[in-house]
């Protein structure tokens, strides 16, 4: 089954990401949807359903109601999902499927997260499925294990490995410096990365993404009417979602340097989009750089490089803005932070703007772009969602 070119994005909005002490969830969704409606040239009354991605339900377990009340959108379904870090992509893909099915013509996918109201700088401990056996599982501690095992398998010393990962952080910060909506705009050096305090060995401070607030959204419609709404709609070429069956920590035989969910979600999306060689055919990608080793594993699992090829490609700058396949051109989670439910749509916003040649700072506009990919990877980690976009049909 393929829904290639059946749906298109005709408007997007993205809030400023950062420590938005001035904003609640309500303000964040008003900020992103206002831009989105203006971009699409439609209003709230034109939206037939909203698909909401939000991981934390801040008000006594309620999430969608708070957003409905804020936006005053009447008489339509608000469907909220939580799928860890992929919640934004799940909202987008649900919206795409709803239009492709014929149930609706114009819908919105909306992601939001207000992490800074939790009162803590991190994503929290005890994020697992059992309050006793997973009480102190943290994100940095879990994702650091990708690096530990990758270094071991490839014979990299801790210092060599950390230097390699530092290049990913430096690249993303270089990109983020050119992103007005990013949380962080500081360029950093490899030396700074290596000297920063260790958070979860072998990861230092700059190997970890920030913790911020944000919202992003998209209006999806049928591809056959998209051109009547704007000259440069962005078409959904394919998507892939995969969930690994078990916490990787407990999974028999699991190697930690490659995740079946990453391989399967990306390859399913490529198949739907008709992509044979992602390294050549993808022009720009936004992938889940929650921690630097995650981005490294994604290069290999997504076929952006060969097994073990990440090492040379990182050293050669292949994924930099001027490289063969620019990745996380807006600065990624590293610079935007990771307001969980919003991230998938924020990444898609960058791809949308890149493919329209309308990036808010021309200095990071990639030339000759036709195909873009956005991706989030969530949980212990266990879940992966990928979407591929193009600026022309076919």
């Amino acid at each position: 089954m393929s829904i290639k070119d059946q749906t298109a994005i005709v408007g997007m909005g993205c809030s400023k990401f950062g420590e938005r002490w001035d904003c609640g969830v309500e303000d964040l969704v008003i900020e992103s949807t206002t831009e989105c409606f203006e971009d699409a040239g439609v209003g709230p009354k034109d939206i037939q359903a909203v698909f909401l991605g939000q991981m934390y339900a801040p008000v006594g377990g309620l999430a969608a109601s708070q957003v409905i009340d804020a936006l005053k959108m009447k008489d339509i379904p608000f469907i909220r999902n939580e799928n860890w870090c992929t919640s934004g992509h799940m909202a987008l893909i649900s919206a795409v499927m709803a239009v492709a099915s014929g149930a609706f013509d114009v819908v919105m996918a909306l992601g939001v997260e207000k992490l800074k109201d939790t009162g803590y700088p991190g994503l929290g401990t005890g994020r697992g499925m059992n309050p006793v056996s997973e009480a102190r599982r943290t994100a940095p501690g879990s994702f650091a294990m990708i690096a530990t095992r990758y270094f071991y398998e490839h014979g990299l010393s801790i210092d060599e490995g950390r230097e390699l990962l530092a290049r990913i952080a430096v690249k993303n910060h270089s990109n983020g410096a050119l992103s007005p909506k990013a949380h962080f705009h500081n360029e950093i050096t490899i030396e700074q990365v290596l000297k920063a305090p260790i958070i979860a060995s072998p990861l230092g401070l700059f190997d970890c993404c920030g913790n911020s607030d944000g919202s992003a959204c998209a209006i999806i419609t049928r591809a056959d009417v998209a051109k009547s709404m704007r000259d440069d709609p962005i078409y959904i070429k394919g998507f892939g979602i995969s969930m690994d069956p078990m916490l990787p920590h407990n999974r028999p035989g699991f190697g930690w340097t490659s995740f079946p969910a990453l391989v399967n979600s990306s390859h399913r999306a490529y198949e739907m989009a008709g992509i044979k060689n992602p390294r050549e055919e993808i022009d720009v990608a936004e992938v889940h750089d929650c921690f630097t080793p995650t981005e490294m594993a994604i290069y290999e699992d997504f076929g952006f490089t060969t097994r073990g090829g990440a090492i040379e490609d990182i050293r050669n700058g292949f994924f930099e803005r001027t490289g063969g396949l620019p990745v996380n051109v807006d600065g990624g989670l590293k610079c935007f932070g990771h307001p969980v439910g919003a991230s998938g749509l924020r990444m898609t916003y960058e791809i949308y703007k890149q493919l329209q040649y309308k990036v808010d700072n021309p200095a990071r506009q990639i030339k000759n772009v036709a195909r873009g990919l956005s991706h989030t990877f969530g949980g212990p980690p266990q879940l992966s969602a990928v979407a591929v976009f193009g600026n022309e049909k076919g």
Partner: protein
């Protein structure tokens, strides 16, 4: 039928503090030696589990039909803890469980009750496990002298390593060492008064009583094992009763400290670890009276002597500050850090106790894949509810992957080591590591399971299994 001790075990926590460090913090003289300090995730229940599991390496758990727990510092004021310990030891629900407390004599009182039960054929194999974390007033001598530890003996009639000869007891009403309801620190009376009319009197009386009862003389004993609240109290009492210095079991006050109800059992375990067949051993515990016992070591002893006590004395890491002792024992607050995103439920905890407490995993009948905690659906072949429960926590495994998070724990104990371990059959385990030295953590490091307190969400103690490096000799 001869009855007696069939297994013995002592558990010393990994952390120690030098008494000099404690004294310096109060600008006073530190007493000689060092003491054991339970880890942030340890309490009298977890140490009693450790000690009991030591006995289960020798005694078949299927045959254990009673478990007695003795402690004056049991974490729950009301709730059976012997049942919790029996469950963590994966004993059957038919086992009789009982909790002993109120006085440091509880350890030997439980021992006497176990001997009586086996003699009366009310039980065939009883584990007596005792553990304590006594707390003295800040700046006091007691604060330095107390130590945290656990010890256990198994009592039965098969493969007896130390045959029970006789017991004698005295009771001696005196207010010498006490805590009122709700108090944390142990009150002690004036030193000379409580020594003369308390410890020395009761211990002297009980030694006389047991010698009279058995018709034995001091010279007949290879070892006399006496509880000792201070550095030299046991030596004084023994000398007065006619024992020579070399007969007196080292009271471990320079290495362990007074671990209250666990102390006489711990010293007995130390004595048995080096005893010879035919040795007569006299052991006595104190607390508002005293219990004394005579055992004769049998030739079976050599089968269970593994030098474990000496090894666990050598396995240690020093706390470098008094303040860390205070926070480890909950005497000063630690910032708990970020709140957990998952919330405790006593119903869920009860439902999941096969894995969480008993340490049972599931082994698939179709493909043989084992998982821990238990899974109803096999991750390898998908078979549903076709598995057998298997005991996991007696296994060892090696580090396959790990991370060392410097910030994830509470403020006084912030380092959290997430560990993915693999055992010889390829089963994977996800646990937090404890009692580690970060420098030793590497892929391939051998690990064993240890029962620990994970956190106190829900206003009760959530216990589960962690892993720790296997050290030479183990922690018995």
């Amino acid at each position: 039928m001869s009855i007696g001790i069939t297994a013995f075990s002592a558990y010393l926590p990994y952390n120690r503090i030098k008494r000099e460090v404690m004294g310096t913090a109060w600008e006073r003289r530190g007493l000689k030696g060092e003491r054991c300090v339970a880890n942030t995730n340890e309490d009298s229940v977890t140490m009693a589990v450790e000690a009991a599991r030591g006995c289960l390496r020798v005694v078949d758990r299927e045959k254990v039909d009673a478990l007695y727990f003795a402690s004056v510092t049991a974490p729950y004021a009301e709730k059976s803890q012997s049942t919790l310990i029996a469950t963590a030891c994966n004993l059957g629900t038919g086992a009789f469980t009982a909790d002993f407390g109120s006085t440091p004599k509880a350890g030997t009182t439980a021992l006497r009750a176990a001997l009586d039960a086996v003699a009366a054929k009310s039980a065939s194999n009883v584990i007596v496990t005792a553990a304590d974390c006594p707390v003295g007033y800040p700046k006091s001598d007691q604060e330095q002298l107390y130590g945290d530890a656990g010890a256990a003996v198994a009592i039965g009639s098969e493969n007896v390593v130390a045959e029970f000869v006789a017991a004698a007891s005295v009771n001696n009403e005196i207010i010498d060492r006490w805590r009122n309801y709700g108090e944390r620190y142990i009150n002690v009376g004036e030193g000379r008064f409580i020594a003369d009319k308390g410890y020395k009197k009761a211990m002297g009386d009980v030694l006389k009583a047991i010698l009279k009862k058995t018709g034995l003389e001091a010279k007949d004993f290879a070892k006399v094992v006496l509880a000792s609240p201070g550095l030299k109290d046991s030596a004084g009492v023994a000398k007065k009763a006619g024992f020579a210095d070399e007969q007196v079991q080292d009271n471990m006050m320079l290495e362990v400290g007074d671990c209250a109800s666990a102390q006489p059992l711990l010293l007995l375990a130390a004595a048995l670890d080096t005893a010879k067949p035919g040795d007569k051993i006299l052991v006595a515990g104190y607390g508002n009276g005293a219990d004394a016992f005579v055992f004769t070591v049998t030739k079976e002893i050599t089968k269970v002597q593994k030098g474990a006590f000496a090894a666990s004395l050598a396995n240690k890491k020093y706390l470098n500050s008094y303040i860390r002792y205070l926070s480890f024992r909950g005497l000063t607050e630690a910032n708990p850090g970020e709140p957990f995103r998952t919330f405790p439920s006593n119903a869920a905890y009860w439902r999941d106790q096969k894995s969480l407490l008993r340490g049972l995993g599931t082994k698939c009948r179709k493909c043989g894949t084992t998982t821990f905690p238990a899974n109803r659906i096999c991750p390898t072949c998908g078979a549903k509810d076709e598995n057998d429960l298997v005991l996991i926590t007696d296994r060892t495994a090696k580090v396959f992957n790990y991370s060392i998070d410097n910030l994830a724990g509470r403020s006084d104990d912030p380092v959290v080591v997430q560990t993915v371990a693999e055992d010889a059959e390829g089963t994977r385990y996800y646990m937090l590591m404890t009692d580690f030295d970060t420098k030793e953590i590497a892929i391939g490091l051998e690990l064993e399971f240890t029962f620990r307190m994970i956190y106190e969400g829900g206003n009760y103690r959530n216990y589960y299994w962690m892993c720790r490096p296997v050290r030479k000799g183990g922690n018995e």
